[in-house]
Subunit: 138 residues, 3 copies
């Protein structure tokens, strides 16, 4: 079985969505997948923020992200929350970066713990990559 480890660093809607879609794609092909959320991506796992991600380009005070979300809905693409719930339901693992929590002053109770399997630092990430045949940084 292939093992895939993805660092999700960006909180921008387009990159965040790509990470979830690729993660689900690998799971669907029978791979074992771990997403390691850090920096701006981890901020998206704070309660209530999952649907408020800006775009990496053409943001125009939030209009870009709003329009992209609308277009995604029209194209039948699931929301970030739905994609992440699916990811975990079909066996994907989610790790929250503890160093980011310390830097950004995020407490465990601030995070939506129903979305997270484990808390850890870079050592856990590196350990997860052992035996992984694919690694991405998004």
């Amino acid at each position: 079985m292939e093992k895939v480890t993805i660092v999700v660093h960006s909180g921008d809607l387009d990159r965040f969505m790509s990470a979830l879609i690729i993660g689900n794609g690998f799971l669907a092909m029978g791979a074992e997948v771990t997403l390691y959320f850090t920096f701006w991506a981890l901020q998206r796992l704070v309660r209530g923020r999952l649907c408020a991600a800006p775009l990496s380009r053409m943001n125009f005070f939030g209009i870009g992200a709003w329009m992209m979300r609308r277009k995604m809905r029209k194209a039948g693409v699931a929301s970030p929350g739905r994609l992440l719930a699916d990811f975990r339901a079909i066996g994907g693992r989610v790790i929250a970066c503890e160093m980011t929590m310390e830097i950004m002053g995020i407490m465990k109770q601030d995070l939506d713990e129903s979305l997270i399997d484990e808390f850890g630092a870079v050592g856990l990430y590196v350990h997860e990559t052992l035996g992984a045949s694919k690694t991405l940084f998004i």
Copy 2:
């Protein structure tokens, strides 16, 4: 033979160029290389847009990208169009992301089909990575 799969997500001139230069570099070493164009990178494959990519930083209303292109020319670096044509001429494969096309309302006829080998979604990308020893997300 090594197999390399690169997701090209960014349409910014510097990242887009890096993807093409790295893709060509791997081809030159005898690897099998697939570029999967998605989001802003796919937008660059719309007819006539390949030379209009902005920079990821210091853009100053397009002056940054214009200056970077000028400096690249002076340093003997080929244009994005030239690099992509070379990539395909020496055996590289280009896949266009169908989900991006649906979200952004891009039709097949909008794209420069002379640059594209195949159209597909995340399942095709994941399938391409089977047996790949290197994967990047740019």
Copy 3:
């Protein structure tokens, strides 16, 4: 022994730091690690610039990066300069991208050579990835 090759493209404080922290993390687990600095990341290796990296988001005329650096210090995270010195001290290799130097008009003497092991172009990067089990682009 695992071999890891990371292209460090972004000069933004958060991505630059992630690259160094991940590089050191892999070294600590006994891997052989090469960082290939290109574009904005290479600019950070110009003398005196290592501590002046902006953030990839929420920059607010430098206040964002200043605040992030302060928070990192408070969280006990080492500075970029310290992380890079540690990286090389425990056996990590640093390559500076010659094409970037040509494009950006950076001379060898502009760079802090105490931070760099080798100068090379994409061919050297690709050669470095031979036998690498992990590759990232940051």
